[in-house]
Symmetry: none
Subunit: 205 residues, 4 copies
DNA sequence: TATGAATGAGCGTTCATTCAT
DNA sequence: AATGAATGAACGCTCATTCAT
């Protein structure tokens, strides 16, 4: 790895850690520099402004989400063939992706929190993350609905929102309450969430 | 109403509005003063510090929640008699409380957002809001479980968290996306959420 | 005088003094604050930015020039009646205005120096000072030319520029060389300049 | 030309161009490096400090003035023989030297402007440029005065200053106003200036 | 030699807070 | 009680300068 890339990585890691704990506005660039063990000045050499640093963080979060976490692998399931069931989608997320979510929870927290206050970042995330996932999800749901598996009274948007907020609530609670991330416990909770949602969303067989 | 109370109300309203939009740290006391149409100095006469103002806001949110929104009325249902069903709890929240939630959504957003970064406020909210509700909810669920109505594989905490995050997700989405609050539409969404949760949580009859 | 006006005057005086000595860019707002015996912060309360302070200085220079130094009194002579001669114009400037020029030489130096590097200020000075004087001067010269007093080979612009640069050169030299301003000596030099210009500009009688 | 000399020339040209436009303090070494198409670091290899670069510029200006523009050729006229008239001095400057002045006006502007704020540079210019010219000019004037050609009421210094400021005013105006340099027009103006000064300085014949 | 990377010192600016009236 | 005036402390950011390769 080049020297510059190494330094940028240090900066980004330090920034994500502190911003996720204190919020963007309460985080001073001097703190980031100290934690990253570099001089404050190169932060501005590389990212121009503090806001530029935040944008880089959100872009990295988008990239990670796209590459490693949700989008591409889930997309494969969602779009591949019709015989994938909602059950498999849940399992895929819960079994395969928890570790990645946990490893990047600070990054994701920063993205989700700051998106509230920065219109440009919100549009970026909507465009790069939310809308693509939603689009594939609709295609997938069309198949499931045609198979008669889904409660027809429910909108796609509500279903997706319930899945997302349900699965995330375990992580979110620990982030807000500043509690440790016990992978076994989180998986146990997510399986209960899955149980609720499967029964709630699918038609009674 | 006394002049002081009148002024305090103006300050609090202005503060809630701006902080809910920009976050606590990004909100300047000078902005609040301008919007409240008072001099910056009396903010500090009344609340000593900016943090004191935030504490007053959170206390007001707790009070509103306790008095008008969730706690006391729901408490009545939850604790009154055993023949109240989960169905009624949902309806009560959805039918009676939406307007109050909508009217106070900025206040609630400030509380929920800032609780992340201020330990003292977090403890206050846990102590005054979350734990009391949770305590009553456990009593209520004990009854429901004894009646054989609840899926025994699900923990109380998961169920409560799903209800809360599910019902709030409609409001939250609009807050984050800066969309208008259409009461009819929100009620429609909440009824779908109720449908999912009822089926998901209760035992198949 | 109000308290605010008093403070603004202190700031402006200090700023003019230091900027005239070191130039705008080399002058630190902290220095100005120390010399003015006020806190750095109110400079920005009153003038928003350092550039805003410079603009205030130039505006003050324009005002002083208009009110006290050149424009209005000279305008009176230039436009009043045709029987004012070039000789009287010179005398008026030399006799009556030297003290005012000397008293405000730092202010004028700042204006003339910084106008080079700030397009907005340049346009302001052209619009408020140079063009009005030039306009009146043309009217005056028309009369003098019609009386057959002026060398017809010379353009108005060249004549005015020679008068201005000639009369100012005594002051300018002392400013650049950081020499003391001896009023008697300056008046002596100006009278020589007048002698040169009168002979040079007017037709041989 | 050696590679180093080539690089130094690029740096100096870039520096003169930018400093003449924005002033020394407002000019960043990084800008100079970009315009000169070299790395910022070698500026400091060659000139040690930014001030060292400015000193090099002023020294180059002195050298150019001495070698090519004013000093040596004028010196030749001034000191060679007594039968050179003021008229010839003017013509020499106006006819032969305008192009050189125009080609180097940025260099000269930097020298004249920065001399105000740097005592060491001021002394250098006084010692190398102003005083030598003035010394020769006095000798020349002595001859002219002995021939009864010069108005005895005028001091040498005033006369020299009027010549310098008069001839330069055409260039100066265009520099300050950021106007194009039209050689024909400038020459026309200078001839008018010469006309004024000749009549003004010499005794009526 | 030449340069990309890095930095210390300092600047303009902000903002919660205090004080005199 | 209420405010205009003032400020200390810090923050984001800049830039001439150095260093390692």
């Amino acid at each position: 790895m080049g020297k510059r890339e190494e330094t940028e990585k240090q900066i980004l890691n330090a920034a994500v850690q502190i911003i996720s704990e204190k919020g963007y506005n309460a985080t001073k660039t001097s703190e980031i520099a100290i934690l990253a063990d570099i001089s404050e000045a190169i932060i501005f050499k590389y990212y121009k402004t503090k806001k530029g640093l935040l944008t880089a963080i959100v872009n990295k979060a988008i990239e990670v989400l796209g590459r490693e976490l949700a989008y591409k692998p889930i997309q494969r399931i969602l779009t591949s063939s019709a015989d994938k069931s909602l059950d498999e989608v849940f399992d895929m997320i819960i079994e395969d992706r928890i570790q990645l979510i946990l490893k990047n929870h600070a990054l994701l927290k920063v993205m989700l929190t700051e998106v509230q206050y920065h219109t440009d970042l919100r549009d970026l995330v909507l465009d790069q993350v939310v809308n693509p996932i939603f689009k594939d999800f609709r295609v997938f749901m069309k198949v499931q609905r045609d198979l008669g598996l889904i409660d027809p009274e429910l909108d796609d948007e509500i279903i997706l929102r319930m899945i997302a907020s349900g699965l995330f609530s375990s992580v979110l609670k620990r982030v807000i309450m500043n509690q440790p991330f016990d992978e076994v416990e989180i998986k146990r909770e997510m399986l209960q969430v899955k149980r609720i949602l499967m029964k709630g969303i699918m038609l009674n067989s």
